[in-house]
């Protein structure tokens, strides 16, 4: 693979074993310290360039969100026009901003619905499909189909099913006349549940895929051993398989949390996230597009979203990198 011109290249150009300074940062794994100075520059560039892009556009704005949340700024007049206001934005959000309460409540319901119904149902499907069922592949494909669709398209499909006069359900049950139709997506006490049903359509398939892969990795002798010990199917799942799958269970819990917080596209397609479909993500967006842009206020809602999502993110980091940190 390496061509001849490199074969006799001196490898001790820079002394990599020098302790301290820049060089020791690039100590090679194992016993070799054959990196030339050029190599070290290449490695540094390989990390630094993508890191700058990622930090500048993701973590920079995250930090800026937190800082701006303590200020008032309408975006006009440059950075000099930013006024620090302490906790005023937060105080306003909690006291005199009517959409906040429903938005937070809907995000919690979204999470609850996923955590109690959609996610367990996806896991249940995976457990069924793991039992050497004839046609397992075909069933998996059917359940997985919504996962490739964009949430925006799923929002459109929701309208085909639930729209009051042209939708499937009302046409099926014959309630399409203006006086007796059921407005699934317009009635604020119904629309969240209709949307959650459609969102679960995708979420359950997503979880199913992940869990099928997880179940495949369980040592079959474990289940056999449990069966020999006289454990029933349900018992052996909850006592033996489920605990072994702890890592994937945590991934699924984190995904459920994050997806519940990210929810946006479906409700925005349906009615721009109003009238019963308010979500925190929509409130942030409305402070940018639409009427007056209130940067500090929008950032404060963003920061609240950040604090909630950190619970999921930190859980994920802890369980994923715990072992490596110990090494």
């Amino acid at each position: 693979m390496a061509d001849d011109s490199h074969a006799i290249r001196p490898v001790h150009e820079g002394d990599a074993s020098t302790p301290g300074g820049v060089t020791s940062v690039f100590v090679r794994k194992r016993r070799h310290s054959l990196l030339t100075r050029g190599d070290r520059w290449v490695l540094a560039a390989m990390i630094v360039f993508p890191l700058i892009i990622h930090v500048a556009l993701v973590w920079g704005p995250t930090l800026a969100s937190v800082l701006l949340s303590f200020t008032r700024w309408d975006g006009i007049g440059g950075i000099a026009a930013i006024k620090p206001v302490g906790l005023e934005n937060y105080r306003n959000i909690f006291t005199i901003y009517p959409p906040f309460d429903p938005a937070l409540r809907h995000n919690l319901i979204w999470f609850g619905f996923f955590a109690i119904l959609a996610t367990p149902f996806g896991m249940f499907l995976a457990v069924l499909l793991d039992r050497d069922v004839a046609g397992s592949r075909i069933y998996q494909s059917a359940f997985y189909l919504p996962v490739v669709l964009s949430l925006a398209i799923i929002g459109f499909i929701a309208q085909l099913i639930f729209s009051p006069d042209q939708g499937f359900i009302n046409n099926l049950i014959g309630r399409t006349q203006p006086n007796d139709l059921i407005d699934w997506l317009g009635n604020p006490s119904l629309n969240l549940w209709a949307v959650l049903l459609v969102a679960s359509w995708r979420q359950a398939g997503y979880v199913m895929i992940l869990y099928v892969a997880g179940l495949k990795s369980v040592d079959p002798t474990l289940k056999e051993a449990a069966a020999i010990d006289g454990a029933g199917e349900i018992q052996s799942f909850f006592r033996v398989v489920f605990p072994v799958l702890k890592p994937i269970n945590i991934v699924i819990l984190v995904i459920t949390t994050i997806e519940a917080l990210r929810a946006f596209d479906i409700v925005y397609i349906i009615n721009k996230g109003t009238n019963g479909l308010e979500l925190l993500s929509v409130l942030v967006t409305n402070n940018i597009i639409g009427e007056a842009s209130r940067i500090g206020f929008g950032s404060a809602i963003g920061t609240i979203l950040l604090v909630i999502s950190l619970s999921g993110i930190l859980t994920f980091l802890y369980w994923t990198f715990r072992r490596e940190a110990a090494e």
């Binding site: 490898v11 930090v55 975006g75 459109f156 495949k216 995904i255 925005y268 980091l317």
Partner: protein, 296 residues
């Protein structure tokens, strides 16, 4: 990941429990497919036909007229092109940058390896709305030469949309790729070093070719995710005609798509690239998802 699909199939016996299981799975998967089948069915019927007979009825006529109308009236080819111009460079750039970071972090030891890996991984888990407010202001302020943006700033430009996709998705790809590259025996890199190969050569000629399987999976996954994006283009673009097709669909509703039959046809047209992924690249897509979830 274990390959445990080698369970002998001869163990299947027809028992009442098996019958119930199959029945349940058949019914559930039919329910699962129904919304899409319904969309397809609605899209093939002219509005006049459904107006006369109702939506839940046998068709008088089946036609692709809705598709041709949606395609032409709403200028869909133009929006598909926008999606293409955004998605393809974004996928390539993301993978290029992510392979470099993953290579450096997984094959060499630095003091900050773990911290860097965590930064990339966590970044991808943030809800987009956490960063959007400052990002929006940043995009309005960052200048861009006029051949990349007619507005002179990152806002409302393809460049800006590609940049945020790359910055966001690179985190997930670094996580997946570094896990994968760790499983490539260290001896392979060492052999190259013994032969006098530079770090770049190790990356280019040893690790990259060996990483083809996760790269194919990630490319499929990224294509789907970036193509499916609705949010970035909605907020970071103001010119409707520049938007990729997924976001544009929202504007076109009501403007060109007046009845559900047309909306159904347009939705299916827009879903076609992802449906191709579903039918042709399902294996890659699923592998990409599960690579990220089940480590190693």
């Amino acid at each position: 990941m274990n390959r445990a699909d080698t369970v002998p199939t001869s163990r299947r016996k027809v028992t009442p429990a098996r019958v119930v299981l199959q029945a349940f799975l058949i019914v559930t998967s039919l329910v699962w497919l129904f919304p899409l089948v319904w969309a397809l069915y609605t899209s093939l019927r002219p509005y006049s036909d459904t107006a006369e007979r109702g939506y839940v009825s046998l068709p008088g006529v089946l036609t692709i007229a809705n598709y041709t109308t949606a395609w032409r009236n709403a200028d869909l080819p133009h929006f598909f092109w926008n999606s293409f111009v955004i998605t393809v460079p974004a996928v390539i750039l993301t993978l290029f940058l992510a392979t470099m970071v993953a290579f450096a972090l997984s094959r060499f030891t630095f003091r900050f390896n773990l911290a860097l890996l965590m930064i990339f991984t966590a970044g991808n888990l943030l809800p987009q709305q956490v960063i959007i407010t400052p990002l929006y202001r940043l995009y309005l302020a960052l200048p861009l030469p006029s051949f990349l943006s007619d507005t002179g700033v990152w806002y409302d430009s393809f460049f800006g949309i590609i940049a945020i996709h790359v910055a966001f998705q690179v985190g997930f790809c670094v996580f997946v790729l570094s896990n994968y590259m760790k499983t490539i025996p260290m001896e392979l890199g060492e052999a190259a070093v013994m032969d006098g190969a530079s770090v770049w050569r190790q990356y280019r000629s040893v690790i990259l070719p060996l990483s083809r399987p996760p790269l194919a999976a990630l490319a499929t996954l990224l294509f789907t995710w970036i193509y499916n994006d609705f949010f970035w283009a909605l907020v970071l673009m103001s010119t409707g005609s520049k938007r990729p097709v997924t976001s544009a669909l929202n504007n076109l509703q009501g403007l060109y798509f007046v009845d559900n039959n047309l909306i159904a046809a347009a939705s299916i047209l827009v879903a076609i690239p992802t449906l191709i992924v579903f039918f042709a690249l399902q294996g890659q897509f699923v592998r990409g998802l599960t690579l990220g979830a089940t480590k190693g």
